[in-house]
């Protein structure tokens, strides 16, 4: 075997070459990864559970010529992997064992990838810092006093800290892109319906989407080749052909129109984020892109719309956690209502309770029209904003988050401030379009460097173009080569 010491720092494409040249076996890859996790994860706390036994068995038999043959992939703990825990970082699912593979896991396995561990997250994906995990707070590998972002914070931190070659996350309002930005990795949210949600615990069903977190854009394209496609078991899954997402990588940006939404470059953005994104825009221009200012006039309504639509859907989705068929059950209930109310009180954390209450309220008789119906109409206005913008430009560019990673505890007592951390990512979920965050620089804070993310948005099903643009930008910079020292 070769280069064991730096092996965990390899990206998926490099790892595949080593595997296919026979310079390392899938089993050795897993063993090296296991050692890396054992040494680093007590500091980062990215994983909730690990199962090398099943993984090593798969590694023994896997064909390295498969598209992801022998590549270990970490899975956010909201996605079912047969025989593994699937806790959503919630007490209510603390002892839950997944009885089947989610479609995305089945597809990863079919491509030769090996799931071996489940990553930490905000409980039921509700949060932007991974502090809402009922188990532990994951640390940002660039500064362990800071959050990795969320809700897919475990997946982002694991990739950033070289304790995962790639990971799956879910993105309902930015939960892949924002932690990718905070942790200095690539995070890709496919268009709504592009990737199956079957076997993924539902938070907000009209917004949720599964996607990859990786070191490089090429790795995200490789994972998307395995993940995308129609699934008859998910009625919201789109019947559209899946292109080879790696095919367009390497093309330049000549002739492409790149839109800057003027509403995304206003007050409240950290100066270092603003400078980094402005430099990235210049870079895209120098690569041949034509920069065009566009307007998304209803941007200011996105966060408010999201917190009505998402909590309404969550309150309905989380009604299934009733302590009857699976999950935590309160002891010695007086009657059925007491059973439900105490089971859920004991099982859910504060943020989940808040959102269930808000969602129940906006759907309740007398308030439905004022809140939920109005929010759905504003959602349509936001969708139309993007449709108009994409009639003029090919992609849109913005910061992923208005600030770099914040400190643990900094926003945890103020839910509204935490919600505003998602201000640039939420609209893409409301509109169902695809988006990616790629590293575009650093903020110098004290003696630390904190990563900054560039968000690029593309229209529905335009993943291939989005990856092409992101790849061209990434390859023209060195940001993705700078790794945190943990």
């Amino acid at each position: 075997m070769t280069g064991a010491a730096d092996l965990p720092a390899r990206n998926i494409a490099d790892l595949q070459s080593l595997l296919r040249q026979g310079r390392i076996s899938p089993r050795e890859v897993l063993e090296v990864l296991r050692d890396r996790i054992a040494s680093i994860d007590p500091t980062i706390e990215a994983y909730l559970s690990l199962d090398y036994e099943a993984a090593l068995k798969e590694a023994q038999e896997v064909d390295v010529e498969l598209p992801l043959g022998g590549v270990p992939i970490a899975i956010k703990d909201i996605i079912n992997v047969a025989g593994q825990p699937c806790t959503c970082a919630s007490r209510i699912l603390a002892s839950y064992q997944a009885p089947y593979d989610a479609t995305v896991v089945r597809k990863l396995r079919a491509a030769g990838a090996i799931p071996y561990g489940k990553t930490n997250m905000d409980e039921f994906a509700m949060g932007s810092s991974t502090e809402n995990s009922s188990v532990k707070s994951t640390r940002n590998p660039w500064d362990t006093s800071r959050v990795p972002g969320g809700s897919s914070g475990g997946s982002a931190a694991a990739v950033a800290a070289d304790e995962a070659f790639g990971a799956l996350g879910t993105d309902t309002g930015g939960s892949i892109r924002q932690p990718a930005a905070f942790s200095g990795v690539v995070g890709f949210k496919p268009s709504y319906g592009r990737v199956s949600r079957f076997g993924v615990v539902a938070f907000a069903s009209s917004l949720d989407q599964v996607g990859p977190l990786t070191q490089t854009v090429r790795d995200s394209a490789l994972l998307m080749n395995a993940l995308a496609g129609h699934d008859p078991q998910d009625s919201t899954s789109l019947q559209a052909d899946v292109p080879d997402y790696t095919a367009g990588l390497g093309r330049d940006l000549r002739g492409l129109r790149i839109g800057l939404p003027k509403e995304y470059f206003v007050e409240g953005i950290d100066q270092s984020v603003k400078s980094a994104v402005e430099a990235a825009v210049k870079q895209l221009e120098s690569l041949g892109g034509e920069i065009v200012e566009v307007s998304l006039p209803h941007t200011d309504y996105a966060v408010a719309t999201y917190y009505i639509v998402a909590t309404a859907e969550a309150s309905a989705n989380l009604a299934r956690f009733d302590g009857v068929r699976y999950g935590h059950r309160a002891e010695n209930a007086r009657d059925l209502l007491d059973h439900y109310a105490r089971t859920r009180a004991e099982g859910f954390g504060a943020e989940v309770k808040r959102r269930i209450i808000l969602g129940t309220y906006v759907l309740s008789s007398g308030y439905y029209d004022a809140y939920y119906l109005r929010a759905q109409k504003v959602r349509e206005l936001i969708r139309q904003d993007f449709a108009q913008a994409f009639s003029r430009v090919d992609v849109l560019v913005s910061p992923t988050s208005p600030t770099p990673a914040f400190k643990l505890g900094e926003h945890s007592s103020d839910p509204l401030q935490m919600y505003l951390a998602d201000i640039f990512t939420i609209a893409a979920n409301l509109a169902g379009i695809c988006g990616i965050s790629v590293p575009c620089g650093f903020a110098e804070v004290g003696d630390r460097r904190l990563p900054i993310g560039l968000q690029i948005l593309g229209k529905s099903l335009d993943e291939a173009l989005l990856l092409q643009v992101a790849h061209a930008y990434e390859q023209s910079t060195d940001w993705h080569k700078i790794r945190p020292v943990v």
Partner: protein
């Protein structure tokens, strides 16, 4: 839009089958009051010309063939049950 002061967290928690402590009720009342005040900004949006979007991608009547497929065995379905007996979920008594 109604006044955010209309929110009665204790009452809504009952609707949501969620028992809250007194401390949680007071805290959520304050925090969600702030959130509702924030979402009040939606009142300013002109929605007179649009229909409600239920989904980002409008889709209707998605059907599949009604064919038998593999499904869970009783053991698999009961695998995570908090209490079970004789291939059944055991639940609190509902009918007197």
């Amino acid at each position: 839009m109604s006044d955010s002061a209309d929110l009665d967290v204790g009452y809504v928690a009952k609707l949501a089958r969620l028992q809250l402590s007194d401390e949680e009720t007071v805290l959520f009342q304050k925090q969600l009051g702030q959130v509702l005040k924030y979402v009040d900004k939606l009142r300013a949006a002109d929605v007179s010309q649009v229909d409600a979007a239920t989904h980002a991608v409008p889709m209707f009547n998605v059907f599949r063939e009604d064919e038998p497929r593999a499904c869970f065995t009783a053991e698999e379905a009961l695998h995570n049950a908090p209490r079970q007996r004789d291939h059944l979920f055991i639940v609190p008594k509902v009918v007197e």
